[in-house]
Symmetry: C2
Subunit: 273 residues, 2 copies
């Protein structure tokens, strides 16, 4: 297959949003595997000009014309980028006029109002939520659980920790997690420390085969990792979820993002404003 065009993502901020958008779009073109080139923090005429030079060099090298996606709030700067020898897709030019009309407002070209530290409180809250997830990881603390908005329960390696961290990072949710173990299954009921917070519990389950593979990576040939043991634990955990009326999801075929969003959705949680 011929090499596709180079794709440049030019942003006056991190470029993370733009990258997400472009990956979503590119996923619709089977067989296109070129990695986009992210050019973040392009927020001055000098930086734009350097990127334009880079794009033009690429164009001059022959092959297919480069593609540029651009997320730059300053209209003067992004006009400069349109001078590049490439097909330019501009997020702001594409949506702002019609969106402004629909909102009944006119836009104000403010650079970096989204991720920036204009919202110091937002940064602090995320870091607090991360610290909370870290100190309430894996059942390591049970005192203070009343601060948790959500407590994930499930067997070891069912995806609790990454999901809690993502919920903290992306949604500023205070999420703890608690690993269900043999002891809990022998009791056949919730650990006493969790009972007062039953309405904040959410279960994670996982296919035993997948759990087996994950655990083998950590402790090969252990009883802990054996398929038989994984089957027993998963079925005991699901029985407990059902007996206690704890909503749960199967994490086997979900990404961390999907798990996080699905849990928020099912638990009716919303990020703090």
């Amino acid at each position: 297959m011929l090499p596709g065009p180079r794709i440049f993502l030019v942003s006056d901020r991190t470029g993370i949003t733009l990258e997400g958008l472009v990956r979503t779009l590119l996923s619709q073109f089977e067989g296109f595997a070129e990695e986009p080139l992210v050019r973040p923090f392009i927020d001055s005429a000098e930086k734009i000009d350097r990127v334009v030079e880079e794009i033009d060099r690429q164009a001059g090298a022959g092959g297919v014309a480069p593609i540029v996606f651009c997320s730059i709030a300053d209209p003067v700067l992004r006009a400069r980028l349109r001078g590049a020898d490439a097909r330019v897709f501009d997020i702001f030019d594409t949506f702002l006029p019609a969106l402004g009309e629909a909102l009944g407002l006119s836009s104000s070209s403010r650079v970096g109002q989204t991720h920036g530290m204009g919202r110091q409180g937002d940064y602090d809250r995320r870091v607090e939520a991360l610290n909370f997830a870290l100190s309430f990881d894996d059942g390591s603390r049970l005192k203070g659980l009343e601060q948790a908005q959500l407590i994930l329960v499930g067997v070891s390696r069912s995806g609790k920790t990454p999901t809690c961290l993502y919920l903290a990072m992306q949604y500023r949710i205070f999420a703890a997690n608690y690993p269900l173990t043999e002891d809990d299954f022998l009791q056949g009921s919730l650990p006493p420390a969790l009972r007062p917070w039953r309405d904040r519990l959410f279960g994670l389950s996982i296919a035993p085969e997948r759990l087996h593979r994950i655990r083998e990576e950590r402790r090969a040939d252990s009883a802990y990792a054996s398929l038989q043991h994984c089957r027993k634990e998963v079925s005991a955990a699901e029985a407990l979820f059902q007996a206690e009326g704890i909503p749960f999801l199967d994490s086997t075929s979900l990404s961390i993002e999907e798990l996080a969003v699905a849990i928020l959705h099912r638990a009716g949680l919303h990020r703090p404003a």
Copy 2:
């Protein structure tokens, strides 16, 4: 001020990318503070119809017509959404035809090729990177540092942990971190355990006033949190970075995303393909 229109974000996946895009766009309209309503996992005709009903109810309630942003790969489903009584902005319809032309390819309407678990290896790598960040957090392990792609150094509470976690989550980077303390400053040189990895070190600095406020939250009125002590530590850390030729950034006014991207950029690190 009059209430603005309700904004619905309708996605066949998590809606995270769409939310990022819409927040970026909305940030350009000063004074617009309405929270968008995310409707994730809308991937069937029934679900679309329920969302359309919800939008139509909103439209019927009077006021300004609702605004809908839509990220749905299936063209039949998204055509159904256009029947809603709202101003609809469709990501795929907006970009796909021209992008396909620029790429010289035709699109294939594949739902959820981005975050999904089609890429199990990707999920595993992210979880591995997170586990790495967790076990090499705060200097807790020095054995095995050779696996680190990046080692963040800085005084306590300068932002190392959230940045390492973000780098793992978003970019699958193996990042460790090591807190610089009094002992290191007395030595006036890098701790011996870090010396072999000097080219992977990256420093974080922070304004003493901000550090003081952060530390006060954790240990009010302690020597550790005093402004004088924070000043001393920050200036000793920066002196060490300079003496050892360690690149560093001031984290004071940067978000976690900005820190992560700026570090990757400066350190020349790229996500694994």
